[in-house]
Symmetry: C2
Subunit: 184 residues, 2 copies
């Protein structure tokens, strides 16, 4: 049922990244070096105050500490024709990168054909999303509000509020969006 977390290797990894010894970290954070050792070998179940004292001295937030992922890919640039096609049809999405982590922004180059929409049922997910209109016009529904955006306009909202996108114009609507964490 309840699996306990391996904060030991997390902390050790963080410490190695910053290239400091257990004792140096202990001094900075004003805890005993023994504690650092015990935590890193998962021989104790540290209190939050303890963890916070240590992470504050790094510094790194608790949230970021637990969101920390083991990064592997070293790919940086995605050429025009290397963007990941997610959907085709009336709405097409081109995504920057693949298999995104929760701490990465999901950037999409979106193209809505005239009249295209995301469906009559509203979308809901646990993210924050933002976008900027590059071409055409967009009808954006967030909660019980309907907005009309033109080229250059932008939006930013919490995706847990039901929302919906539509191209109400006669020409294609092109926009760039970012969603954190990725929604699909």
């Amino acid at each position: 049922m309840h699996e306990d977390i391996d904060i030991g290797t997390r902390l050790k990894k963080l410490r190695h990244e910053r290239q400091i010894s257990q004792r140096q970290l202990a001094i900075k954070s004003k805890v005993s070096n023994a504690m650092i050792s015990l935590i890193e070998s998962n021989k104790t179940n540290p209190s939050l105050g303890m963890l916070k004292k240590i992470l504050d001295s790094v510094p790194i937030s608790i949230s970021d500490f637990f969101a920390m992922e083991i990064k592997l890919t070293n790919k940086v640039v995605y050429r025009k024709d290397e963007l990941t096609e997610i959907g085709s049809g009336p709405i097409s999405y081109l995504q920057i990168g693949q298999n995104l982590n929760n701490n990465q922004p999901q950037m999409l180059l979106e193209r809505y054909k005239p009249g295209a929409d995301t469906g009559k049922s509203m979308l809901t997910h646990e993210s924050e999303e933002s976008g900027l209109i590059l071409e055409g016009r967009l009808e954006l529904t967030v909660g019980d509000q309907i907005y009309y955006l033109s080229t250059g306009d932008a939006y930013l909202f919490n995706s847990s509020v039901p929302h919906r996108f539509k191209n109400p114009g006669a020409t294609d609507c092109v926009l760039v969006s970012a969603c954190t964490p990725p929604s699909f």
Copy 2:
């Protein structure tokens, strides 16, 4: 120096959102109800194992628990002339939204004049950033690699790796970027 965190009201807020009592939560998470009470009134400094047991039963991740914020603004659409100007000069940034939280993507419409760069010292911060070139050309340095991007190309990398941007062309370079969490 080291300020301790108020996990008490955090947990109480979470519990009230889910509309369950201390004892119900205690049973679900198999800890004593006294413990829930003590934590919520900040009368104890719980261990991570303890917190994890409780949050697992909700369920919510530790990272999300600490990223949890009190939502206030209801502004959704930012008109073309409402984007927040961050810098002017050789590089100008227009940001979508203001006072961003850590769980929001920081979207920027960036314009580099010919020859403009982010300075000779490399940038480093704890984020993930991504971008798409709209006009012109961009020279991107990440670690010891230099990339040249043209209109339509994109990038995605971890910002803790030293990096640098430059417009090597004779015309303006315009791009849209997203950074999570916001870098400034």
